[in-house]
Symmetry: C2
């Protein structure tokens, strides 16, 4: 691998003549809409990780796959890097632009091409909103299962890039488990089909490889998703606990009882209070923790399982267990959980949202350790969990205007992610690596493992033009990061640009 | 990619000095057991696809991961190809040896390293039998879900190589959905960890890429599998139909009703009669088709779902629906299905087992077309299906001693696989590509797609030493096959060596 490749992967890019690039695009793809004036570019300078901002060289807004192919052919020829962007709701900076690169915005590829209830599939373009797929399938009593909290806004293409999860991924799986086929445009502008409409595909599973690859292997231009029949019946239980440990025990016991809830979420007292203040979800504000457990299926099954879950929750020490009496109450219960992040945003000038995954059995240990770290660093931490699958979202509360607090938040965040790796987990759950966690990847993976990541990257994009500097760190970066690590005597957090 | 690579991938290998290789292995890895005499090598000349036979240069039987690493380092240095083999039960010739290569038999890496019921995992070596994992987990009331019909004999390492399915993969997924982490030895003898013990991993999903890669990317030496809690209750329904179409409708209707059976299998009249003669399963021998539907879960759920399924089966036109009254009858129902292949073997001198996957909605169409093809070619076809997920196993009955019948069986088989691709399916379900379907891959995939398969292969094994000539055809092969295709005016089947 050339040094150029290694450097480019790390974001050290050669300069591009903007005017020359603009002229080439206008000559060769006259129908393609391009934004290039500073005021036009401003809205695209960051995604959901707003702490990082870069103005792109220019923004391309293709309206069809042919334009994407033509643009990639041109970018390859001129060796200009390309960052793909969906709705820009990502939380790890995966769509952070490059000042020497094209930002390829797929928002206008927003057609639902086919809804086939008989086959249980929908074929959609990448700019289609996650929730819009379920809306289009609703007349057939079907829906698309993965539901990130941002589902009203986030795009299915971004979901593929990040292998997004959501409240229901415990029972219904991540994005990769709910898609069947991808059409992608390669770095050279070729059109490829990955996967098939059948259960399994021959050859290497490139569809699974592509899913979660954060725009580094190609540009997705069409997705065939699975549609599920809407469950006959949905019930949500809310269990209140006076200790976090008891709630964690209940989580393990529910799973061990052989029940697969549609969702199993946990919130700690700080999150409960913040959500209740914001949304009036009907949460018990004195509880140390609550569990929200959703059961879906045919009516009689759901009723039986609800009784079972209630029994398990009480046996684990629940002070109270309530079942939502009607769809309105059920939606209120979920509204509190789904708005936990903005709710916490109301009680602190700034917060930093973490996203790690741990083995379920380590839940109680990790929560105890986070509480200790919180005290040690003098910063409050609110905990919101996809408890059933061990995906944690600790929110570190701080005030960027207070001297040193951002650094403390960074350091605490690093410690929490390090803790996730120590107990056998990973540094990402569903938000991806992006720009945010590029250094933590050096902790998670050995240089042997990274070498194979690079080899796979090179198989698809030998020149490193697709989203360089994200997701997979270079060995150079890890060598520097390792040195820094030793120097500072603790795992540092990526240098955030200041708010 | 060099021509050497392309040729080697296609099995045209440089000669190896056997004596020199033996001496090198004995010098460098004295503890490694090697078989090299013709009589010792004979048992290893084929796997479950016994129509293809090759005597390997020598057989290595490592007893630990260090020996596998040392052997791969030596093989890489001397540029000797290596074919990995588990229990040798594979049906597509994936473990067919090379006469100029080492057969690396992983059968002695057969330790169960850890069973952790709390975490819901087991850590095992690749030579562990599939069924042995569930046996080891049984004291904890847990089991490993994927259950190929060969589960008594087949090894978990082979299951990973082929991404094996089974009767229960409709509800519980394929091998890739039931493993969490792989330890592999690379072609250079490095040890790598793919995946994690958490729900999702950062970086590219190399574990999914490796699963089903048929020994072409590395040698798996340790597998962490998921264990599930054994369901409280299991029931099996048997529905009898006087038309195949009605049975196919019932399959679609059961899935559409929102029920996820643990298994949903279909057999046609010829399979029913053969199985009944062989096993006395209690099947209705006059039915055109039967459906076997297994429901598992907590007691009350299972009872409710059974009633629902019975209703759907009857509404679709079932002449009769029976529920197995006790575990013995349930096991008899399944025994007929699981022994369908040997049962068909009793009514025909030879049979050829196909393995294709089609979208579920195409079931009825494909069955009708197979019946027409059967008539056209003058050969009987018995149909056994994982109906719920569209994975078909048509068995083509023929007599190799009758002039021309093998060729007819080959041609008919090719037509059936072509049909699978035409209706939007694939040429493999769970048996893999191996040597058997290497030419059909040229029909399934475009040269662009194959180019990316090769690039991924090269990322892991640039010299093409791992299982060359299997799974992924070279572009040369496809060019020749395409020419042959046009020449003969029909899709030819791979030239089988004669029985």
């Amino acid at each position: 691998m050339s040094l150029l490749y290694d450097e480019r992967l790390d974001g050290a890019l050669p300069s591009v003549d903007k005017q020359q690039l603009l002229t080439a695009i206008r000559d060769e793809i006259p129908s393609l809409q391009i934004l290039h004036r500073p005021a036009e570019l401003r809205p695209y300078e960051c995604d959901g990780l707003a702490a990082y901002r870069t103005t792109p060289l220019l923004v391309a807004l293709p309206e069809n796959t042919q334009q994407v192919q033509a643009l990639m052919r041109l970018a390859s020829r001129l060796q200009v890097p390309v960052v793909a962007r969906g709705a820009g709701t990502g939380l790890s900076g995966g769509a952070l632009p490059l000042e020497k690169g094209i930002l390829l915005v797929l928002a206008r590829l927003n057609k639902i091409l086919e809804v086939n209830p008989e086959a249980g599939i929908a074929r959609v373009q990448p700019g289609v909103r996650n929730a819009a797929i379920s809306e289009a399938a609703a007349p057939h009593n079907m829906y698309y299962a993965p539901d990130p909290s941002s589902q009203i806004a986030c795009s299915i293409g971004g979901n593929v890039a990040e292998n997004a999860g959501g409240v229901h991924c415990l029972k219904y799986g991540l994005t990769v488990h709910n898609i069947m086929q991808l059409q992608i445009v390669t770095v050279d502008g070729e059109l490829l089909t990955l996967g098939s409409h059948a259960l399994d595909s021959a050859g290497f599973d490139l569809m699974a490889l592509f899913t979660g690859s954060e725009g580094m292997l190609g540009i997705v231009t069409e997705i065939t998703v699975k549609l599920l029949t809407r469950p006959q019946c949905i019930k949500v239980l809310l269990g209140s606990y006076s200790s976090v440990e008891a709630a964690a025990t209940a989580v393990a016991d529910i799973i061990a009882a052989g029940i697969v809830p549609a969702g199993l979420e946990m919130m700690d007292n700080m999150s409960i209070r913040a959500a209740e203040d914001f949304i009036q979800a009907g949460y018990p504000v004195d509880a140390a923790a609550i569990l929200l457990c959703e059961i879906d299926g045919v009516v009689s099954d759901v009723e039986d399982d609800c009784q079972l879950v209630e029994g398990v929750m009480r046996a684990a020490g629940a002070d109270d267990v309530r079942v939502a009496h009607d769809p309105q109450e059920r939606q209120r219960f979920w509204a509190g959980r789904k708005n936990a992040f903005p709710a916490v945003g109301r009680i602190s000038p700034d917060y930093y949202c973490m996203d790690g995954t741990i083995p379920r059995r380590q839940l109680s240990l990790v929560l105890t350790r986070i509480a200790e770290l919180s005290e040690e660093y003098g910063l409050r931490v609110a905990n919101v969990f996809h408890a059933g699958d061990g995906n944690m979202h600790p929110l570190i509360l701080f005030d960027a205007n207070e001297e040193g607090q951002l650094e403390q938040a960074e350091a605490l965040g690093g410690k929490i992610l390090e803790l996730c790796v120590q107990v056998g987990g990973t540094i990402t759950g569903e938000h991806g690596v992006g720009r945010e966690k590029i250094n933590q990847m050096c902790v998670q993976f050995s240089s042997d493992e990274l070498t194979y990541f690079h080899a796979v990257k090179a198989a698809f994009d030998a020149d490193g033009l697709l989203n360089p500097g994200k997701n997979i760190p270079t060995l150079n970066r890890c060598a520097e990061f390792g040195a820094m690590h030793i120097h500072r005597g603790q795992m540092p957090f990526p240098e955030l640009e200041r708010f």
